[in-house]
């Protein structure tokens, strides 16, 4: 029964596609074909929006502007210069792409609502240019007389041929976007969306990934804009106005965020809905609004989310575990050498001239009272913070000031104090994310991830959602994710927090095994009962300074450590 239900979703979507095709071929009037054509144009635009908004999680309000840029490129080149579809269409993709690359570099550095506001500003600038450059754009009137599509000498008439052309583009674009979403890039974008810091710490270049998503989505928007002009033969500032953007956003949310099927379903529904009620004159907006609200309440995860609930997708067969190749490290010597590391936040000296070295195969503990600078040291080593002074040599290479993804690729892995696993991802997906920067595709990434999970006795968790795991298992999965990259240096931030004694013993065993393979391990921990038997050496920080460095048995005897951290009566 479960197998049949799991097959239901692809069958339902395929049947829907077949029904739509039959409707277009056999029953649809010219008006209905036109509505279908407009829905196709929006489906293409929303498919692109799913990449930047759905997958990468960036609320780009410039998507409507890219749609308009594609439209204006076709309109201006077609009506003013008489260029044909073969020239205007590629240029309508190129113009938004170039603008997205130029604009993306500065605005993609901004987070969440600042990014949304910046992209809204971009859209406003483009709209103002269109209105105020009448010699080029036709101003507020726009440009009439845009020629229709001519393919290989054949003028594509409106009606079924134009609908077929537009939906052919939707099919091609949808397939491309589906492959992106299901592939390495899509998985990496989801990780960037869910936790950009974790993504960077796993070796992913967050800036480049966001820029790629922004640029790719702009190309889709440009294509949709070009086709929209060919369907109405006139381009005017309305294509750049905010309602276009709102429509695209609504379609993405109602259809199902991040899914190609969601883009198509959302566009079909939202373009047809007002047409069904239009005979109600003014009242149709109320009915339309109520219908839209009902759709959002009934399917808060969108129409594809509703489908997932009713017809759960089939679990994929797990891959065969394969150990990843051991990365080559430069010759013998310390894994890490830190000299004079310093970092201040305003007037607070968080790390003050710290120096130490970590040897391959050794476990080192890093202790100190709260606020002593332990997490800041880890952040400086992993690139999440830039040091004010000092040097950091990772396997003989100076890495101070590098981006986190570059440091990660140089052999460093880390975990976070607060778990950084995405709740909506399966354990296998979460661990495979650690291999995305190394492996050429998802299949080897998942095979390597399963190897890491099995190594920690967690292979059976592969299909479970991270959000459903108890704390101990989450810690284990996080460790598997860090080890999946076969790092030369592993930094763990309070890995034993919230674990039972048995779970701590289990964790200690895994860390010893990792060290036995030559990994240098630095563990930040408050639990002395867990750390001191585990570590071969201990560093103690207080007020950003190194207070103690030596064997664990010396910690409890050191008066400075006792005074600053352990307290009297612990010796």
């Amino acid at each position: 029964m479960r197998d049949l239900r799991s097959l239901g979703q692809p069958l339902l979507l395929a049947s829907g596609a077949l029904a739509l095709t039959s409707y277009a071929l056999l029953y649809a009037s010219p008006y209905e074909l036109r509505v279908l054509t407009v829905a196709g144009v929006y489906a293409l635009a929303v498919t692109g929006f799913q990449i930047v908004f759905g997958l990468a999680g960036a609320l780009s309000l410039a998507h409507g502007a890219f749609f308009g840029l594609g439209a204006y490129a076709t309109g201006i080149l077609g009506s003013r210069y008489g260029l044909g579809f073969a020239a205007t269409f590629p240029l309508s993709l190129l113009l938004p792409l170039v603008v997205a690359l130029l604009v993306g570099l500065p605005v993609l550095r901004l987070e969440s609502h600042y990014f949304a506001l910046a992209t809204l500003g971009v859209a406003q600038v483009v709209l103002l240019l269109a209105v105020n450059l009448p010699d080029l754009t036709g101003g507020a009137n726009g440009l009439p007389g845009v020629p229709g599509v001519v393919l290989f000498g054949w003028a594509v008439p409106r009606g079924l041929p134009l609908a077929a052309l537009v939906w052919g583009m939707v099919a091609f674009g949808g397939l491309l976007a589906w492959r992106v979403a299901r592939g390495r890039l899509g998985r990496a974008l989801v990780l960037v969306r869910d936790d950009p810091l974790a993504a960077a710490a796993l070796g992913l270049d967050v800036g480049r990934l966001r820029l790629a998503a922004f640029a790719l989505s702009a190309v889709f928007a440009g294509a949709a804009g070009a086709l929209s002009v060919h369907t109405q033969r006139v381009v005017s500032p309305e294509v750049l106005e905010f309602p276009v953007m709102v429509s695209v956003l609504t379609m993405a949310v109602v259809g199902g965020r991040g899914r190609v099927a969601g883009a198509i379903l959302g566009a079909l529904l939202l373009i047809h809905l007002p047409e069904w009620f239009r005979a109600l004159e003014r009242s149709y907006l109320i009915v339309y609004g109520v219908a839209l609200l009902a759709a959002v309440i009934a399917a808060p995860q969108g129409l594809t989310g509703l489908l997932d609930r009713l017809l759960p997708p089939r679990d994929r067969a797990p891959p065969r575990p394969v150990p990843p190749a051991e990365p080559a490290r430069s010759g013998p010597g310390p894994a890490l050498v830190v000299r004079g590391l310093a970092k201040s936040f305003g007037g607070v000296r968080a790390v003050d001239g710290v120096s130490f070295a970590l040897e391959p195969g050794a476990i080192t503990g890093l202790i100190g009272p709260n606020g002593s600078g332990k997490t800041t040291v880890i952040n400086l080593l992993s690139g999440l913070e830039r040091p004010d002074a000092g040097t950091v040599e990772l396997f003989g290479t100076e890495t101070a000031g590098w981006r986190p993804d570059r440091i990660a690729r140089a052999g460093l892995a880390r975990t976070f104090q607060s778990g950084a696993l995405p709740d909506g991802a399966t354990v296998l997906e979460a661990v495979a994310a650690a291999r995305l920067a190394e492996d050429p595709g998802l299949v080897p990434a998942e095979a390597h991830a399963l190897w890491a999970l099995e190594r920690l006795g967690a292979g059976g968790l592969a299909g479970r959602l991270c959000g459903d795991l108890p704390a101990a298992l989450r810690r284990r999965v996080e460790l598997a994710r860090a080890l999946a990259r076969r790092p030369g240096l592993l930094l763990l931030d309070e890995p034993a927090a919230g674990l039972t004694d048995a779970e701590k013993a289990d964790l200690a065993g895994h860390l010893r095994a990792a060290a036995a393979e030559g990994t240098a391990v630095l563990v930040v921990e408050h639990d002395m009962g867990f750390l001191l038997p585990l570590a071969g050496r201990v560093l103690c920080l207080d007020q950003g300074r190194l207070l103690y460095e030596g064997p664990p048995e010396g910690v409890r005897r050191d008066p400075a450590v006792v005074a600053a951290y352990l307290g009297e009566g612990t010796a």
């Binding site: 009137n141 009439p144 239009r278 003014r282």
Partner: protein, 375 residues
């Protein structure tokens, strides 16, 4: 004989059936009843529907109203929908210029006359023989607008404030041309966005240029906002506004005192009366729609009546209606209409002024047959 009656009735019914099918006539009305032009679009709708009421004795004329919103895309979809309805001889089409420009190619393809009150100049400059504009274009209204300022008020230092829309840019261009010809080039000109919520900055800048008259070419809402702010500032120079000001719905946004000294150009002002026919129209409009008619309602009424005259005279196809519109003359309530060969049917404009005591303006000056097209 009595027994033959049913048979005769059957034969008559049979004979009448094809005639009914043949005379299945439709004049759909595709106008913006939602969005920023909903007030004007509703006037258009009402004017068309009033004209179609009891239009041709013995003939039922269908008239579906389809909202076009304000996007060209929705307008084209609406036209495609209407064209598929069958029996369409003409279409009451949106007053929004960008929507008209988008509908024109499809209207030509289907061969459907579009009857509109859009003032955007370029819709009749596309060489499309299927468009008929029953509202004076900018070439007429702006001629009246500028001439009233210069010739009647004797002002030569105008500050022009216009909208950054198709309507605003087109009107501004025509005003520039006429004012220059009259030797009264503006001392100040600035475009404002229709969504601007404070027009005091542009008013202040305009006054700083030392004008002796303010010429407005704004949509309804911005016109009311500008005049309210100007009145609050104690403006002492006259204001001659665009056609949006004549609309009763615009005047309703202002106190009568705020309208003192304000004039406006328009095609007509039905509420101002002027003839028994015009007063009858205004009464009928009020009765039917519980609202005050404006020049857009009257223009669409006159245009639709001209289509109906053609139908009454036997036109049963779009081509026949087009020919009648293109070649005929129609004495409407607002003016006498005749095509200039491009589809511009209206060639007269009026100036109305408010006395500060009432929201109903009085006719100040007529500019008839400005283009000389009407014989």
């Amino acid at each position: 004989m009595a027994s033959a009656l049913p048979l005769i009735g059957l034969l008559l019914a049979h004979a009448a059936a094809p005639v009914r099918a043949e005379e299945d006539i439709s004049i759909p009305v595709l106008v913006p009843v939602t969005g920023f032009l909903s007030l004007e679009g509703t006037s258009q709708r009402n004017g068309a529907l009033l004209a179609l009421k009891d239009a041709v004795p013995g003939l039922t004329i269908r008239s579906d109203v389809i909202d076009t919103g304000t996007s060209p895309e929705a307008a084209v979809t609406a036209l495609e929908r209407a064209a598929g309805g069958g029996g369409v001889v003409a279409v009451g089409a949106s007053m929004l210029g960008t929507q008209m420009l988008a509908m024109l190619p499809l209207a030509e393809e289907y061969g459907l006359p579009l009857v509109t009150v859009s003032g955007t100049a370029s819709i009749t400059e596309q060489g499309n023989p299927w468009v008929f504009r029953f509202f004076p274009g900018d070439a007429v209204t702006k001629e009246a607008h500028a001439r009233y300022v210069v010739e009647e008020l004797g002002k030569r230092r105008a500050a022009v404030i216009y909208q950054t829309t198709a309507y605003g840019q087109s009107g501004k261009a025509h005003l520039d041309t006429v004012l220059k010809r009259l030797g009264a080039e503006p001392v100040f000109a600035e475009g404002v966005d229709p969504t601007a919520k404070d027009l005091l900055p542009v008013l202040t800048k305009a006054l700083a240029a030392g004008p002796d008259v303010l010429i407005l070419h704004l949509h309804s809402g911005p016109t009311a906002l500008f005049l309210r702010q100007a009145a609050a500032q104690g403006l002492t120079i006259p204001v001659v506004a665009g056609s949006a000001m004549h609309q009763p719905s615009t005047a309703a946004l202002l106190e009568p005192a705020e309208l003192k000294g304000v004039c406006a150009e328009t095609a007509a002002s039905p509420v101002s009366g002027g003839s028994p026919e015009m007063e009858a129209f205004t009464e009928a409009y009020r009765r039917e729609f519980k609202a005050e008619p404006d020049a857009f309602a009257l223009g669409q009424y006159d245009g639709t009546r001209m289509v109906l005259e053609a139908v009454k005279a036997g036109a049963r196809t779009p081509q026949a209606v087009r020919d009648a519109l293109a070649g005929g003359t129609h004495k409407g309530l607002a003016m006498t209409y005749r095509s200039d060969g491009k589809g511009n049917m209206a060639h007269s404009a009026v100036i109305v002024c408010y006395d500060g005591a009432s929201r109903v303006p009085k006719l100040a000056k007529r500019y008839d047959n400005v283009t000389g097209v009407v014989p």
